[in-house]
Amino acid sequence: MAEGIKDKVAIIGMGCTKFGESWDKSYEDLIVDAFKECIEDAGIEKKDIPAAWFASCFDEVFAGKAGTPLSTTLKLPFLPVTRVENFCASGTEALRGAAYAVASGVYDIALALGVEKLKDTGYGGLPDFGSVMGTKNRLITPNMTAPGAFAMMATRYFSVYNLSPEEGKRMLARISAKSHHNGTLNPKAHLRREVTVEQIMNAPIVAWPLGLFDCCGVSDGGAAAIVTRADMAKKFRPDPVYVKSLQIALSSGEEIGYTDFDYAHVETGYRAGQRAYREAGITNPREEISMAELHDCFSITECVTYEDLQFSARGRAREDIESGRFDLDGPQPVQPDGGLKCFGHPIAASGLRMIYEMYKQLQGKAGPRQIKNPKLALTHNMGGMPALNLIGVSIVGL
């Protein structure tokens, strides 16, 4: 009988660079910055690390393939390094690989590090999808961008729940305004400016109905974690954070190819959430999850994720958004660090950045955005587009 990962692995050190348009930093700088903070936090030295998992996604615009960008940048002494890539959830995959390695007993310690240097393409937004969706895609799929793919979910959500564009956009604007507020409290965030619901609603359209402030930042950055066996964790520090669940679900193809999918939710998010709750022993996520970092690549993604993860009932996210449930001082804060929206989204670093915020919050080290007495924290890291994607859900706690 499979036991799952609950309480077998602990995180004992983390590092995260400032996210943003780091015109003066190379991907090597981002790797070293995240790594330095991480091992100092863990109180270990490089020689203590026996294996590493390295995440990068749009490698063709910066580091290139394989694990060697990590091993050579950090001068790792001929260690096993596994490079993982699973779209925007690559960082969570690095953590999953490192955690499974430690849980299996093969290693006592492992490093997970994700980095992305996006701002060397010469244009705004992500590198073209043609490079990541396969070659047949180019022949038969629209020249889609990420905002466009998620905008189609907003169109559907508005249609299914009978929201006028004005009502729908106002609901989504409230999500972004909340994250912008949280971002102002975070010195490492990419975007640190309060914006009003009216400003958000009147911003230029990127992909109808999504406007500029419905879209997250496109950023450079890196994040890292050191994991160890749970029974060894207290040797390193008094406040390790324990892994309660690491789940991932990938599209089966039915969302894009079979007509049952409503495109007003993300099926993988629901499935990964269900598995994670089972693994962590959670029966009432709306009450039991103290706080969360959700994959708010776009405001609509955060909206449907409230429902997919059962923080809100199906079709009822709007009430919870408008009541302030997910605000920093609300009953279930989401994106306390500003989220992808304002912390920024260096693709393969984002999954580990989410864990970084939850780790700091659980340790009481989140400064002006500290949440009171959090117990269980959830991260939700999505890669791909609503009809073809994968989602990693992680739950960590004290």
């Binding site: 180019r138 020249n143 079979y258």
Partner: protein, 481 residues
């Protein structure tokens, strides 16, 4: 009895008023002003996509597997070498065991293709052949050609049974008359003096071919219900008919003020318009122009009444949207370079071996249908996409190109590169099952809604001019109520 068994046409949705062109470029050459409007291919249309559209109109409801040849006449192929007829035949889902050919290099090539198709049937080497013609000709900014040239296509199915108009005879003249030409490196036509073209070419060759035909078959011009020949000039078009002794009512109305001079397609489009109004027993005389002239005459039969549901010329003329910007028109035709940004310039090499392997999937929009549960799916799958089925290798081919659908969701994407931003795309659910993401075309973001009906249209998906490759695929077009 050999002759036409079906007809179809295509006129692109966009029309530009010639005043719009003249307002922008008339300063250069004030003598270019012409009345009316002309048809403009959308930025994702070209001679190949228009030939497919006209042929689909022609083949509406007919058995495609019985077609034994496809001849495409055009002078504006994007490829100097790669047979356009082969692309069209694949898109139409014709069998590979057929004869295909491009007829080109002269604007009379449309009638030549038509004659060759009839000859093949008369000679017994085929029973059903499509002859289609499409052109999208370029004029330099401020040129008379820019005002005159319009875009369009026509298709005729030829055969020896169910004939709606029998080919009774023909007469051709051929001259090396160099009124306009394009050299190896030329993007635009070069032309000789217009008065010489008009007085020595256009107004001489058409009457010569028609007179030759009348004499050969001992006919009088009065025997014909309609005399059909292309218009290069409004006044001389009328004068040719008058000179031949035809009443104004016998002369098939020219389309310079609605479509423009559509090159090879022009005489065949006018023939389609004539057939739309023809009655059993009518005689129709058709002549082309270009390096001489082909004249042919047809006898309309009782069968004509069975082919009345084509969109044809009338239907397509009625479906129009005005293009109000000259600059947008020029950008569509590539006559002014537009800022694409690095994102727009990034085009990966087209994997031609992959395109070959997937040719029916890409060019003919084939998916698969599960024999166990009946679910259509695109692109074709080996393992059924329906979650409670999952049958392995129990698929049959399933063509989506002729299926209607409705718009399940959509967006207008201002970030994606498009020559006509925003890039509008969405998810289409097909009647009978099946779903996929498609570009939408010939529509505005403001005019589309979730649930609206769409039909599929073969279009250019991307252009890679640096490597000389043009990618084609199917897009969804909202069906106008």
């Amino acid at each position: 009895m050999v002759g036409i068994t079906s007809y179809g046409a295509y006129i692109p949705r966009y029309r530009i008023n010639r005043n719009t062109i003249y307002s922008a470029m008339g300063w250069l050459n004030p003598a270019t002003l012409m009345p009316g409007e002309k048809a403009v291919a959308n930025c994702d249309e070209d001679n190949i996509s228009m030939a497919v559209a006209a042929s689909l109109d022609c083949l509406n409801g007919l058995e495609r597997e019985k077609i034994e040849g496809l001849y495409l006449a055009t002078t504006t192929s994007p490829y100097r070498e790669r047979q356009a007829a082969g692309i069209v035949a694949t898109a139409l889902d014709l069998r590979p065991e057929i004869r295909t050919a491009d007829f080109t290099d002269s604007i009379k090539a449309g009638t030549t293709a038509l004659l060759a198709a009839c000859d093949a049937i008369k000679g017994g080497s085929a029973k059903r052949v499509i002859a289609c013609a499409a052109d999208s000709r370029l004029g330099k900014a401020g040129s008379a050609q820019e005002e005159i040239y319009g875009d369009g296509a026509a298709a005729l199915l030829l055969g020896d049974s169910g004939v709606i108009a029998t080919l009774e005879g023909s007469y051709s003249v051929s001259y090396d008359f160099t009124d306009h030409w394009r050299g190896e490196e030329d993007k635009f036509d070069r032309t000789w003096e217009d008065r010489w073209i008009r007085d020595v070419g256009y107004t001489k060759f058409i009457p010569e071919a028609i007179s030759g035909l009348l004499k050969k078959y001992e006919l009088s011009i009065k025997d014909f219900a309609k005399v059909v020949y292309p218009a290069l000039y409004v006044r001389e078009h009328a004068a040719i008919g008058k000179g031949l002794g035809a009443d104004p009512g016998q002369i098939q109305q020219q389309m310079l003020a609605t479509v423009g001079d559509s090159g090879v397609a022009s005489p065949l489009m006018m023939l389609v318009a004539a057939l739309e109004d023809a009655k059993p027993g009518d005689k129709i005389l058709l002549a082309s122009y270009g390096n001489g002239s082909d004249a042919m005459f047809f006898q309309v039969t009782q069968e004509i009444d069975k082919v009345r549901d084509r969109r044809g010329i009338k239907g397509h003329l009625a479906l129009k949207r005005e293009l109000t910007s000259y600059e947008k028109y020029a950008a569509f035709r590539g006559t002014i370079p537009i800022e694409k940004g690095i994102r727009g310039d990034e085009i990966a090499f087209t994997q031609l071996s992959n395109l070959w392997r997937e040719r029916r999937v890409v060019l003919a929009l084939y998916g698969s249908k599960c024999k166990r549960c009946g679910t259509p799916q695109y692109p074709p799958q080996r393992i059924c996409v329906r979650p409670d089925c999952g049958a392995i290798d129990e698929m049959e081919d399933y063509r989506f190109s002729d299926k209607k659908g409705h718009l399940f969701t959509y967006t207008g994407d201002s970030l994606a590169f498009s020559t006509s931003p925003p890039a509008i795309y969405g998810m289409i659910d097909f009647e009978g099952g099946g779903r996929y993401n498609f570009d939408l075309t010939d529509c505005d973001l403001d005019s589309i809604k979730v649930g609206m009906p769409v039909e599929m249209s073969f279009r250019r998906k991307y252009a890679d001019p640096a490597r000389g490759i043009y990618g084609y695929f199917w897009k969804a077009v909202p069906v106008q109520a």
